[in-house]
């Protein structure tokens, strides 16, 4: 069978095995007759043992033996000694079978069954395991059984931890042992066992231990994977936290029903045009959570009753967990000033995907000012188009800098109580950083560089809220660039990391962020103070990130980058104008995140690669054609079935039907021929302008 050595048989061996096969056939016939007639005599049971010794995979025979054991144990004259001897027999048969094939599922399973009856000694089991684990230290059946025995026979995790240590000293490449270590430590942390109350003491020792393996041979992969686990343990706080929100604490939000507001009175950062009668409240958590609802998050304000607020997760999938949650608060009809208080986590129910409760209740409040529509301008605003040309942007001067200072500082929610608890984490990371710098000074090692980059990023993220700057971003960017050259097969991966770090850097201070803020004002606009546009163009970004700091953005210029994906952009609920011109988007389905942006009115996806590739790799996620539920799900609107062109453009329909666009630029994509454009116009009847042309 698989994985066991095979040799060409010699003639005499062949003869022997023919005889063996005949013997087996005879045994089998007899066995089936015993089994089917429920005969459990000593002779019959012994025969099944013989069969199993030859073929341990004969699961029918294992089940027969279970029935036989039950039969014996139900006898009226059954006493403890008798039970023990029956069960010992079983263990003996299993052991013989395992000698023949130690990867037999049936044999290991039978042993578990026998053990679960009690009456067996743990020492015996450990002796047996030692024997098998010596023969094959990676056998996962044996490791599974070991975990089973340790748990059911109450062997302490500490002892088992010692065992993995011994195994690792024998062979530090034995990843199964490292893995079991991670399982045991997780259990000990969870139990808060003595000596494992906090990770603070344990993890530094683990780092020491893993260094021995990594420094001995940096090319051995086992150690690096365990290191990755340690890093995760160090960085991840168990309970989820609220990372940021929109509106932020202390915001003055101006809701303007008319797009052409004369902005001098309002901060361009916090004035929001709304024609839908509501505005979004966005919660951004540091990890995906579930259970955000009107019972776990309370919103108190003068004009709205909390209970009709519906919180929705924002994620690409349909899952009920997400990092970002949004609810839409209705705007009161009259001119009004009102304070809104949002508190999260005062009652239980927000839970991370890893099962930890949101345990740091937090509260933020903001003011809402409503500016009613000025009728005279309404016609103008409808006809107005937005053109993201260079000449329409003015550097956003210091004129009202205080507004962004205020909003910037209010972006992140501080969790003061975390700071002291986290000291050991930063210390552990600092120590690791030093250690890997040393390793890299001795040799050039790409995994070492990658690990160092990860450590530095983790360190920066952890200390950021207090230090308010990213100390190492330059170094990380350099490491990423290095790795792109060193390891071209994974170029794209490093490029993505590079993009993420760059974005973190840009958004890390108000000075750097202000350099990217421009005031939009075109020649025909009647507004005196135009909206603020965040321009992250020409940065050769391959991926978008740092969303938690960008929730306020309404106008975003990502043109002239190398974006293939805009995953995560759904978090930017206020976006009304977005340019993705000159990127590398390859399919319509790559636009999926935009479906969740209800305020988006102007979109520029011109000069991408949509339609260049005959086959769209991203297609399959749309209503999952691979799923068994396909067919029951009915996307087929009447509009589709009645119009052949729409059936042919199923994806376009799926993506664009939820859009609420006034203006779309799609020129410069293979897909965008006249026929396709006419389809778009059908799908989006509200569209007013397509590729610069006004639609009738």
């Amino acid at each position: 069978m698989h994985g066991r050595p095979r040799k060409a048989p010699k003639p005499e061996e062949e003869a022997a095995s023919v005889a063996k096969a005949q013997k087996l056939r005879a045994l089998q016939t007899q066995f089936f007759s015993f089994h089917h007639n429920k005969i459990y005599t000593k002779e019959a049971v012994e025969l099944s043992a013989k069969l199993l010794e030859i073929n341990p995979e004969s699961y029918t025979a294992w089940n027969y033996r279970k029935l036989a054991v039950e039969h014996y144990l139900s006898q009226p004259d059954c006493n403890p000694d008798w039970i023990k001897s029956v069960l010992d027999d079983e263990l003996r048969v299993v052991e013989n079978a395992l000698r023949q094939n130690f990867k037999s599922y049936g044999a290991w399973h039978h042993r578990k069954w026998v053990i679960s009856k009690g009456h067996s000694s743990i020492d015996n089991e450990l002796r047996l395991l030692d024997k098998f684990q010596k023969a094959d230290s990676r056998n996962f059946h044996a490791w599974n059984y070991r975990r089973f025995v340790a748990e059911s026979m109450k062997k302490s995790e500490q002892d088992e931890l010692k065992y993995t240590e011994d195994m690792i000293y024998k062979n530090f490449s034995n990843y199964s042992a490292w893995h079991n270590r991670s399982v045991l430590l997780s259990a000990l942390f969870e139990k808060k066992a003595e000596g494992f109350l906090s990770k603070e003491k344990v993890l530094p020792e683990e780092y020491e231990f893993i260094h021995q393996a990594i420094f001995t041979d940096p090319d051995d992969q086992s150690g690096w994977f365990y290191h990755l686990w340690l890093l995760d343990q160090t960085v991840t706080t168990d309970s989820p936290l609220l990372a940021s929100s929109w509106p932020g604490h202390g915001y003055d939000v101006f809701l303007v029903e008319d797009r052409c507001y004369n902005g001098s009175a309002f901060s361009p950062f916090t004035a929001l045009h709304s024609d839908s009668g509501s505005f979004p409240i966005v919660l951004y958590f540091n990890q995906p959570v579930g259970g955000v609802s009107s019972s776990t998050v309370t919103v108190e304000c003068g004009f709205n009753k909390n209970e009709d607020l519906l919180w929705k997760p924002l994620s690409a999938s349909n899952s009920q967990t997400a990092r970002v949650w949004v609810a839409h608060l209705k705007i009161p009809s009259s001119d009004l000033l009102s304070t809104v208080e949002v508190s999260a986590g005062h009652s239980k129910g927000i839970i991370s995907t890893r099962g930890f409760e949101y345990s740091h209740p937090s509260m933020f409040s903001f003011k809402v000012h409503v500016q009613p529509m000025e009728r005279d301008f309404s016609q103008v605003s409808v006809a107005e188009s937005i053109s993201l040309r260079e000449e329409n942007f003015k550097i956003y001067g210091s004129q009202s800098e205080e507004s962004i200072i205020n909003s910037f500082n209010q972006l992140s929610i501080k969790n003061g109580h975390e700071s002291t608890a986290s000291n050991w984490r930063s210390e552990a990371l600092a120590k690791e950083i030093e250690c890997f710098r040393e390793l890299l000074s001795l040799m050039d090692c790409k995994i070492g560089k990658l690990t160092l980059a990860r450590l530095l990023m983790a360190y920066d993220v952890m200390s950021y809220p207090f230090a308010n700057k990213l100390v190492h971003s330059e170094e990380v960017l350099e490491l990423c660039s290095d790795l792109m050259k060193l390891d071209p097969t994974h170029y794209q991966y490093y490029k993505d990391e590079h993009s993420m770090v760059l974005l973190q850097k840009v958004t890390s201070s108000k000075e750097s962020l202000l350099q990217h803020c421009f005031q939009y004002k075109d020649s025909v606009s009647s507004a005196i103070c135009g909206p603020i546009c965040l321009r992250l163009n020409n940065l050769s970004l391959s991926r978008m990130g740092a969303f938690e700091k960008l929730l306020w953005v309404q106008m975003l210029d990502l043109s002239h980058n190398e974006l293939q994906s805009i995953e995560g952009l759904e978090a930017m609920q206020l976006l009304s104008c977005l340019s993705l011109r000159n990127n590398k988007l390859r399919s319509l389905t790559a636009l999926e995140p935009l479906r969740k942006l209800k305020l988006l009115r102007v979109l520029d996806i011109s000069y991408n690669q949509i339609g260049d590739h005959s086959i769209d790799t991203t297609r399959y996620l749309c209503s999952s054609p691979l799923s068994h539920s396909v067919g029951s799900e009915s996307n087929k609107d009447e509009t589709v079935t009645s119009d052949v062109a729409l059936i042919d453009n199923w994806e376009a329909f799926y993506i664009f039907k939820d859009f609420n666009l006034n203006q779309l630029e799609i020129v410069g994509n293979t897909i965008a021929d006249e026929k396709f454009k006419s389809v778009l116009v059908k799908i989006m009847p509200k569209l007013k302008q397509l590729d610069g042309k006004l639609l009738g």
């Binding site: 994985g3 030859i54 051995d220 790795l483 996620l621």
Partner: protein
């Protein structure tokens, strides 16, 4: 550091395998082009001969597989189908009759006549019958009883048991769901909580283990991922860490290992390679990228490697007991709904350069490993040089090869470009449905048959 100074057993074994493999590659590169192309040729006739012989009679050394007889049928029939060959009508009839005798009175298929029904052999039997195709084969499956059997195997926890009183693991979930899906008897009762069980098996490495607490493993990762796709809950998995995990499993030899730091093995060409075929269909808006930690996708000369490997003699594929499966995806049909406007000259991609129809693994390196290191010239394929051929490895090496040859394509209905197929173009195998691992045409026939009935 004292204690770790010398090479570990794992590292020594790995070095030995590498030497063997690199010797083969070196010999190959020093050959004149004509001999090179001979070495890269898939020995179709010899493989068919080896396989057909296995179907008519097996030597006595096969008695350890006595509880796995439908598996032998599946490995052989599927391999033959991949090679686009047929078995003769009498043999076909005998096979159908034999499998009918394995079918239990209360549904499901056993490892052999008289044994109890078992999920893995049920999977193998159903896939065999689908691979044979035709009314006789397909109608021999008692779907009502089989459904009852699946319900009996369902555990309260959501997982499935392999057989009455048997073990619960990811294999069992996969084989149950795959069979139900293929036979069009999948319903909410069967699906309920299966996703929770699979989720509990995804480890921090990103891959999926056989049971909770165990380490990630190629075969189980395939099974878990395919199951989640079949029950439409794949979004619940951490797909990006799963991708990170699986891209690491390709070593400098070109082939895949099954777990961290184990030796390369030809059968993972499918278990791991098939994962890429599934991921390719899922990659939504996100481009899933390999995390480079170690070996990544090396092809021979490149990079000092990190794959060291296994300790003792044994690797485990999920021998005999699991295999893989498919879904109700009308992969083919869906293509018709795609935008006509998208259909453009495929050479266009070429001019765009790196236009990213590229697979996430090194497909040519894997094909090279399969053809040069796993193939026995006189028929049959194997784990690695120095091991002997068997039907299991033949089946999964060929399945992996088929996946590889189409790894640039999304559309199984169009033939791949010659440069995607290593060796002569005649090496091209039939396309498979990656969720079930049956040849695509046969899947379609079965799909139609079971949709109607």
């Amino acid at each position: 550091m004292e204690s770790f100074r010398s090479l570990t057993v794992t590292q020594r074994d790995q070095i030995l395998v590498e030497q063997q493999v690199f010797d083969i590659f070196k010999t190959f590169y020093n050959l004149p082009p004509s001999s090179q192309s001979f070495m890269l040729e898939l020995q179709r006739e010899n493989h068919v001969e080896y396989l057909t012989k296995g179907l008519t009679g097996l030597g006595p050394s096969f008695c350890v597989l006595d509880a796995n007889r439908p598996w032998i049928c599946y490995w052989i029939l599927h391999s033959i189908a991949l090679l686009d060959e047929f078995v003769d009508p009498e043999l076909e009839n005998n096979t159908i009759d034999f499998l009918s005798r394995c079918q239990g009175p209360n549904g499901g298929y056993a490892g052999g006549p008289g044994q109890m029904p078992h999920l893995a052999t049920t999977y193998a039997a159903v896939n065999s019958l689908v691979t044979l195709g035709g009314d006789k084969a397909l109608s021999s499956i008692n779907r009502e009883k089989l459904y009852m059997f699946l319900r009996q195997m369902k555990d309260a926890s959501g997982g499935f048991r392999m057989h009455d009183g048997g073990e619960i693991d990811v294999r069992a979930c996969y084989t149950a769901i795959s069979v139900a899906s293929l036979l069009n008897i999948l319903d909410d009762e069967l699906v309920q909580n299966v996703g929770n069980y699979i989720l509990s098996c995804q480890t921090y490495e990103g891959g999926i283990s056989g049971e909770p607490g165990s380490e990630a493993h190629g075969g189980y990762t395939f099974c878990g991922l395919a199951t989640m796709i079949l029950i439409n809950e794949v979004d619940r998995l951490d797909l990006s860490s799963l991708t990170d995990w699986v891209v690491f499993r390709q070593g400098v030899e070109g082939g895949f290992q099954g777990r961290t730091n184990k030796l390369v093995d030809g059968c993972y060409s499918f278990w791991q390679g098939g994962i890429f075929a599934l991921l390719k269909r899922l990659n939504s808006t996100k481009e899933v990228k390999p995390i480079p930690l170690g070996d990544g996708e090396g092809s021979g000369e490149e990079s000092p490697q990190t794959t060291t490997s296994s300790d003792a003699a044994g690797e485990e594929g999920l021998n005999g007991d699991l295999s893989l499966g498919g879904s109700h995806s009308e992969i083919g049909d869906q293509h018709n709904t795609s935008s006509q406007d998208n259909v453009i000259d495929i050479d266009h991609n070429h001019s765009k350069g790196h236009a990213n129809v590229e697979p996430l693994f090194n497909s040519l390196a894997l094909q090279q490993y399969i053809l040069l290191c796993s193939q026995e010239l006189n028929g049959g394929l194997r784990d690695k040089p120095g091991k002997s051929r068997d039907h299991y490895h033949t089946c999964y090496c060929l399945s992996g090869l088929s996946v590889c040859q189409r790894s640039w394509l999304e559309d199984e209905d169009s033939p791949p470009l010659p440069r995607a197929v290593l060796g002569p173009y005649s090496n091209l195998l039939e396309p498979i449905h990656p969720l079930y691992n049956v040849v695509l045409d046969r899947y379609r026939e079965a799909y139609e048959f079971f949709t109607k009935s």
